[in-house]
Symmetry: C2
Subunit: 428 residues, 2 copies
């Protein structure tokens, strides 16, 4: 039991250095918990000489990260390069083929190639672990794959992009418009080089697609995640939603329905009394609903050196302990290709529109809703000056199809000023 577990780390950015620091500062603790020492034998990054706040001089160096996968003295390749193709993919594939275990934080890679990589890992009898790829430091992959494995999972939800949640909560607390807060976030370094990965919901969508595969035993299917970013969320909607007891979150929802697998990453209203509605700033939250356990809520930092490195080390320690399980918690060969649900499950919706101030305007809207099979739960018309009358409607349960149909017909009524806003209210 005292053979060390030997790591090769590819990528010495924030997370890679976090891992180095844990291995260096917690050596005795790790050995006691893992049952054997955990050592770093080699690293790879862009520049060997760059000052990173951690001494890496004792480790072997590879200019080409893929060489880590070929080293005889490496047991586990820790892939922290990122990117859905290119060197990260080559490294992971080479490592598995060379009989190494792999720990990665790369959600994009797994969202695109997860099923194929899982098959490869299981063929080779190796582990491919990715706790750090979803919701940073929150041990959600472990909870879903292991702790809650006795449950049929009913629904998985999550706020899994801290930048988006920062922007939305800052818009609310400061009353600032999206563009201004987006600029703040950019200056604070909260945004990816391509900000659309964050604010377009892509990064969070990647994460959701991985949770789906585990929860429902399905092939990873990021392409069928319905994505809608937060760019269209207005301070008015945030304020009006709050007035009615809701918060607006970029919420991921995955559930298996009679119509197929539903995966959405869209701005939704959630009750302000639920932990999801109370989530402030860059914190992440994942909600798992199982048939036996009910609702489990997990909350923590979704990014950053310490939290993400903590998740990487959890995976490393599991490997050191000899834990082996299929990549998505069940054999990759058993993952099914579920058809995507064309229509999302029924839910109440928040509709905001501005009506011309003329008699019968509201009646026309109400008629369209009625004819679309949508009934109104609550309505508010706000006092107004001049001609524009802001109207808020919360519907009873309606399908996304019914809502889309009603929105199309609203345009024909001739009483709307501008575009109506329709946001799903997720029942939690």
């Amino acid at each position: 039991m005292s053979t060390p577990l030997r790591l090769g780390i590819a990528g010495l950015g924030t997370v890679g250095i976090g891992v180095v620091k844990i291995v260096q500062t917690h050596a005795a603790l790790l050995a006691r918990r893992a049952g054997r020492p955990v050592e770093i034998v080699a690293v790879s990054a862009n520049s060997r000489s760059k000052n990173r706040g951690a001494d890496i001089s004792a480790y072997g160096w590879e200019d080409d990260p893929v060489q880590l996968a070929r080293r005889e003295d490496v047991d586990v390749v820790v892939e922290l390069i990122g990117g859905e193709n290119g060197v990260a993919k080559a490294l992971v594939e080479t490592a598995l083929k060379s009989g190494k275990d792999v720990v990665t934080a790369n959600k994009a890679l797994l969202a695109k190639h997860g099923t194929a990589l899982a098959r490869l890992a299981e063929e080779k009898g190796r582990s491919l672990r990715f706790e750090a790829a979803v919701a940073g430091g929150i041990p959600v992959i472990k909870a879903l794959t292991e702790g809650l494995a006795g449950n049929q999972i009913k629904r998985v939800m999550g706020v899994m992009n801290g930048t988006c949640n920062y922007i939305l909560t800052r818009m609310e607390s400061a009353g600032l418009p999206y563009d201004a807060v987006f600029e703040e976030a950019r200056k604070l370094g909260y945004l990816e080089a391509d900000p659309n990965l964050d604010v377009g919901g892509i990064d969070a969508g990647h994460k959701l697609s991985l949770l789906s595969a585990i929860a429902f035993g399905t092939e990873v299917d990021f392409d069928n995640v319905v994505l809608q970013g937060i760019g269209s969320v207005s301070t008015a909607d945030i304020r009006l939603a709050r007035d009615m007891g809701y918060s607006i979150k970029l919420l991921g929802v995955a559930q298996m329905t009679g119509r197929g697998l539903e995966q959405r990453m869209t701005p939704c209203l959630v009750p302000e009394t639920h932990p999801l509605g109370q989530l402030q700033g860059g914190t992440n939250m994942v909600v798992i609903e199982g048939d036996m356990v009910g609702q489990i809520v997990l909350r923590g930092a979704g990014a950053g050196e310490g939290p993400t490195a903590s998740a990487v080390m959890g995976d490393v320690i599991d490997i050191a302990r000899g834990f082996r399980l299929p990549v998505f918690g069940q054999p990759a060969a058993d993952l099914v290709a579920a058809p995507p649900a064309a229509v999302s499950a029924g839910a109440p919706w928040y509709l905001r529109m501005t009506l011309l101030d003329k008699p019968g305007a509201l009646a026309k809207i109400a008629t369209v809703l009625g004819e679309s099979g949508i009934s109104i739960a609550r309505m508010r018309q706000y006092s107004h000056e001049g001609t524009d009358a802001p109207v808020l409607i919360v519907t009873h349960k309606a399908s996304s199809d019914d809502i889309a149909h009603a929105l199309t017909r609203f345009a024909d009524t001739g009483v709307l000023v501008g575009e109506p806003v329709a946001l799903r209210i997720e029942e939690v």
Copy 2:
């Protein structure tokens, strides 16, 4: 990989029947996730013929649960009898000695004999798992032992007795006194046969002592958990705390300090903006703080058939997958006997007292506080009629010793009506 894992279940109460139902209804799912079938081969309970809502006729029967541990066809004994001694202890010991793995929900047994049982299990090379013993369906043992194993744990906190949280939140929402809500809870069947296990904090203290052992690598030391029940919490305190932005919770806190291991299960004030402060009803919450991961919050049902059975099955599936780790996440032989901290870490305190309505009364109290080295952060004197003046004080950080000293000296001032109330404000 297709050898079934064979369970012997001792105790067919709520949780035992929940386990039976999962095994019966989720057979295919469990086999896919565990990599092998999970089967029940034998059970033991008080009466074989009792109608339990699940068909147990296909299973072997033992009148004496300890016989389950001696059956050749049992791989894992699931102990759901309860109680810190007697048959549960005999069963667990016999099972381990007979080379069986054990899954238990028995917090009392482990709080009292956890270190010895862990040693026995590790000597015999067997697993002893207890996810269901702490916070019901929340996979907190797994999170702490595995997912967050890369962290030095700084503090573990939790609301881990749903009945107490139900009583406290109901006192607040309905404005009812403790005795009335206690009676309600008794009628609803929320209380243990000996209610002091719940409202005295003993049950939650058992759970805290198990989390401590994992978090800090210490021997299980329930005897040194500082216990204070909720019987003395008044509706006045709940209301006044809320006025100042706090909720009162029966909060468990464990942390390693320079003065030793601090373990408390006492009514505390927590900010109403923190998830702990927002926790309503019978739900449980555990907060884990690691040096790398920061603060992780886990929330879910703390009791009941489904949630607790879910936790049991998580352990069973881990065993089926061949996962083996020391009972408390590090070898039992390495667990240290930490001295208990005599004085709790400094914290702000909530003090409520009633003063005689005479000149200089408040000055005397303020003088005592000052002389005890306690400074005042906020003070409120409520309007009053007649002679009694309710006064609320929130202090800056003070040790439990300083507070105890001040309370003693208050008595000498001659200006107090009745006993003062002192509750710690846990900084989260």
